[in-house]
Amino acid sequence: MKKSICIYFQVHQPDRLRLYRFFDIGRESWYYDDFANRTILQRVAERCYLPANRIILELIKKHKGAFRLTYSISGVVLEQFEKYTPQVIESFKELAKTGCVEFLAETYAHSLSSLVCEEEFRRQVKMHSEKIEELFGKKPAIFRNTELIYSDKIGSLVADMGFKGMLTEGAKHILGWKSPNYLYTNSLNPRLKLLLKNFQLSDDIAFRFSDRSWENWPLTADKYITWLSRSLEREEIVNLFMDYETFGEHQQESTGIFKFLEHLPGAILSQTNFEFLTVSEACKKHQPVAPLHVPYAISWADEERDTSAWLGNELQNEAFGKLYEVREQVAESGDPDLAADFLKLQESDHFYYMCTKFFSDGAVHKYFNPYDTPYEAFINYMNVLSDFLVRVQKRSLATMVKSGTEIAVKKGSKKLKGR
C-alpha cells in the first residue's frame, strides 16, 4: 500500500479593532480598523492567496488529479474576501471545481467557543458549514478547530455533530513514544478519526524555510523528500499542516518558497512511494491504530502546545469571560448587528494580542500583533467590549419590554374571548 501525504492549509485573517478610546463608549459603535483590515487583506491576497492558488491550480492540472490537498477557511475571512477581494473567493471556487480539493469545517469566527460553550460552538460550526457549502458546493465532512485545539471532550462533541474526522497537533506531551504518522481515534467516541500534524516536517517549511542560521538552509524539494521518506519507515501517513500565509507572506517570494511549492509535488510523486490525499480520503483509506487520550486541551501554538496563548493570564480570562456572559442575551435579542459584532469579538486573535508570554516567547507573537504591549491590547478590547455590553443591555431591556407587552396583549385577548 502506498503511503499517504495530507497537506492542509489554514486561511484566516482577523477583524482588527480600531484604536477605541473610552470616551467613545456609548457614543460610537463601529469597532474595526477598516483601513488596516482592507490593506492587509489586499496585500496578503496579492502576495499569497492569489499567486499560491494559481500555482496549486497548475499543479492539479499538471498531475492530473494525483495532487490533492485540503483547505480550511474561516468564516470571518470569507466575509472579508467578499468585501475587499472577491477575486480570492473566485480562485478558491476554481480549485473546488477540480475535485482535488477538500474544504474543512471550523468555527465561523475562528473562535475559542469549544472551550467554554457547547451551544455557541455548535451554532458557529453549523454557520460555517453552511457558508462553505454555499460557496464551494460541498458540505464539509472533517472538522478542524481553531488553532487545532482539541481534547477528548471536544472530539466527542464533534463526532456527535456528525463529522467523520478531526485534525489536531501531534503534541509530544500527548503522544509520548507514539508516532503522529498514523490515524488515531477519539477516546470517547471511536468513530471520530484523528489526523495529527507532523510538526517537525510542517515547521521545516512554515517556520524554518528562510532561516539562514538553520543548518539545513537552503531547503530544496529534493532535500525535503529524503527527510520525508526517511522519517516514515513503517508508518502510513504524514500530515503537513500550516498557515497558507506561509507562502509569500511569512516566507516572502524572494526566499524561493513558491519555487519550492511548485517542485515539491512532482518530486514526491516521481521519487517516493507517497500519494497525495485529502483528509477525508486518508480517513477512508487508513485504519486507526489506537485511541488517543487528551484530557486537557492542546493546540498547535508555542512550545507548550496548550491554550495558554489565548487564555493563559488574568487579562485574557477577564475579557473572555465578560464577552461570553452576554451570549444568551445577544441570541435572544435577534439583533443582526449585535450578532455580527458578537462573532467578530470572539475571534481568537483578540485574546492572542493580550498574551504576556511574548515577553519571553519571541518573534511569532510579535509578528502578528498590532499592539505594542498586551496591556494596550487589553485596554482597547475592553473599551470596545464595554460599548458592546452597553448595547446588549439596552437591547435586552427593549426586548423585555416588548415581550412583556406581547404577553399582556395575549392575556388581554384571552380575557376578551372568555367574555
Binding site: F22, D372, T373, Y375
Partner: protein, 430 residues
C-alpha cells in the same frame, strides 16, 4: 581593582536620586570585589561606610604637587564665577539657600596652598565655585591615594574626574545620570552643557543610565557612540517597609508624585484627569510635589473646573511619600524627559499599578507598566480609565510588576560596570 569615585552626595544626606544611585552602585561594586574610594565635597561622618571609604573633600589640604598641574587648573578657573544656577530647588528652598550662603560665606579660599576648602555639598548659588574648587581638591586626593580607575558621577564632579586623570593618567569613566536637556528642556544653561561635554570628551568611557540618555549624549553632545554604553539603574529596597492604611475611602485615587516642573510633564496629567473625570466620576486626582509650574497647574485645574476632584499636597517626604503610595490606585509619571526614573519602581514596589511615559529610561527595563507617549493625553487618559474600570488589568500589572521590580538589582549593574573597568585598565596596559 580599586576605583576613585567622585560624587556629590551620599545617603543619608541627599536631595535627589543621585545620592541613592551612588549608594546602590558602590554597594554592588563592593559585593563584586571592587574597592571604592568615594570622594564627596562635604561628608558629615554618618554616611554608611560599610561598602566604601568616604573621603571628605573639605578635609583635604592642597599641597605643592597640585600646583604643578596649575596650567590645567587655570583652565578650570573660568568656573569660579558666581552664578545663580540652581537645579533641583523649590522656590522656598532657594530663598533659604541664598540666606544661608550670605551668612556662611566661606572666606578662606583666596590662597591655594596649605588651605582646606569648605564645601557645602548642596545645590546652591555658589555651585560653580564649588565645582571648580572640588576639582582642585580632587587633584590633591588623586595624588595621595592608590587606585586603578576614576569614576565621576554627573557634571558637578566631572572636572574633579578630569583633574585626577590629568595628574595620574588613570582611565576616567564619567556617569551620566541626567543631562542638561533633561533638566531644562531646550533652554539649556550653556555653562553646564560645556562642562558636561568637556567631561565626556576627556573621559575614556561614558556610562548612560538608559538608552534614552545615551542617545542624547550621542546626538546632542556629539560623543562617539563607541564610547557610550548604557548601564540601567537599579533599585535597592532593603529595609523598605510598606505603610498600611485602614480607613480608605471608596473613591479611587490617581497620583502624580514629583517635582512640578517642565521635565515631569504635570500639564499632561491635568489634561488627562479632566478627560477621565468626564466619564468616570468616582475618582480623585492628587498632584504631590512642588516646583515652578505649581501655580500654573493650580490655575489650569481651576479653569477646567475639576478642582473639587483634583488636589495638591505640596512637597512630600519620607513617610508621607509611602502613605501617598498606600492611598493610590494608579501612579502616573508622564515625564517629558526622564533619564531613568526611580519613583515608578517605588510605586510598583508598593503594589500600585503604574503608567509611565515612553520618554523615560525606566520604560526600557519595565514590561509590566503601561507606557504612553507623554504628549498623548488621550492614550494617558485611556490607560488611567483602563486601570480604574477593568480591575483585572490592575491586578495583573501589580502582580508581575512586583516580581519585575524585585529583579532589578544593583549587583547586576555593578557587574557590567566592573567589566567596563576591566576593559579600560587592560587597554591601558597594552
Amino acid at each position: 581593582m580599586k576605583v576613585l569615585m567622585f560624587g556629590w552626595e551620599f545617603p543619608p544626606h541627599i536631595s535627589g536620586g543621585l545620592g541613592t544611585a551612588c549608594y546602590g552602585l558602590t554597594k554592588g561594586l563592593s559585593n563584586s570585589g571592587v574597592e571604592v574610594l568615594f570622594v564627596m565635597p562635604s561628608a558629615s561622618g554618618d554616611e554608611d561606610q560599610r561598602a566604601v571609604k568616604i573621603i571628605n573633600a573639605s578635609e583635604v589640604e592642597i599641597s605643592q604637587r597640585v600646583t604643578d598641574v596649575r596650567s590645567f587648573l587655570e583652565n578650570v578657573q573660568f568656573l569660579r564665577v558666581g552664578t545663580n544656577m540652581v537645579p533641583y530647588l523649590t522656590p522656598e528652598e532657594f530663598t533659604e539657600m541664598v540666606e544661608k550662603s550670605k551668612k556662611g560665606q566661606v572666606k578662606e579660599y583666596k590662597n591655594f596652598l596649605g588651605q582646606k576648602f569648605k564645601f557645602s555639598g548642596k545645590y546652591g548659588s555658589n555651585l560653580m565655585e564649588e565645582v571648580s574648587r572640588y576639582a582642585m581638591v580632587a587633584a590633591e586626593i588623586a595624588s595621595q591615594y592608590e587606585f586603578d580607575i576614576i569614576h565621576a558621577h554627573d557634571w558637578l564632579t566631572y572636572m574633579a574626574g578630569v583633574a585626577a586623570k590629568k595628574l595620574t593618567g588613570k582611565p576616567l569613566v564619567v556617569h551620566m545620570h541626567a543631562t542638561e536637556f533633561d533638566r531644562s528642556g531646550e533652554n539649556i544653561n550653556t555653562l553646564v552643557y560645556d562642562l558636561e561635554k568637556r567631561g565626556m570628551r576627556e573621559a575614556d568611557m561614558v556610562i548612560a543610565v538608559s538608552n534614552l540618555t545615551r542617545n542624547i549624549v550621542i546626538n546632542k553632545y556629539g560623543i562617539h557612540p563607541s564610547k557610550v554604553v548604557t548601564v540601567h539603574n537599579a533599585v535597592d529596597f532593603d529595609g523598605f517597609e510598606q505603610v498600611e492604611i485602614d480607613n480608605r475611602i471608596d473613591e479611587k485615587i490617581v497620583t502624580f508624585l514629583g517635582r512640578i516642573t517642565y521635565q515631569k510633564g504635570p500639564e499632561y496629567f491635568i489634561e488627562a484627569a479632566a478627560k477621565v473625570l468626564k466619564r468616570y466620576p468616582n475618582v480623585r486626582f492628587v498632584m504631590a510635589g512642588s516646583g515652578d509650574l505649581l501655580n500654573r497647574s493650580i490655575r489650569r485645574v481651576a479653569k477646567l473646573g475639576i478642582a473639587t476632584k483634583f488636589h495638591f499636597t505640596g512637597f512630600l517626604r519620607g513617610e508621607d511619600v509611602k502613605r501617598m503610595f498606600a492611598f493610590s490606585d494608579v501612579y502616573v509619571m508622564p515625564s517629558v524627559s526622564e533619564p531613568f526614573g526611580i519613583s515608578p519602581l517605588e510605586a510598583m514596589r508598593s503594589n500600585v499599578p503604574t503608567i509611565i511615559s515612553k520618554q523615560s529610561g525606566v520604560a526600557e527595563v519595565l514590561h509590566h507598566a503601561i507606557k504612553v507617549d507623554f504628549w498623548d493625553i488621550d492614550a494617558l487618559a485611556d490607560a488611567i480609565y483602563g486601570l480604574l474600570a477593568y480591575p483585572a488589568l490592575g491586578q495583573m500589572v501589580t502582580k508581575h510588576g512586583l516580581d519585575e521590580v524585585n529583579a532589578l538589582r544593583w549587583d547586576t549593574a555593578a557587574l557590567q560596570i566592573k567589566d567596563i573597568y576591566a576593559q579600560l585598565t587592560k587597554n591601558q596596559l597594552l
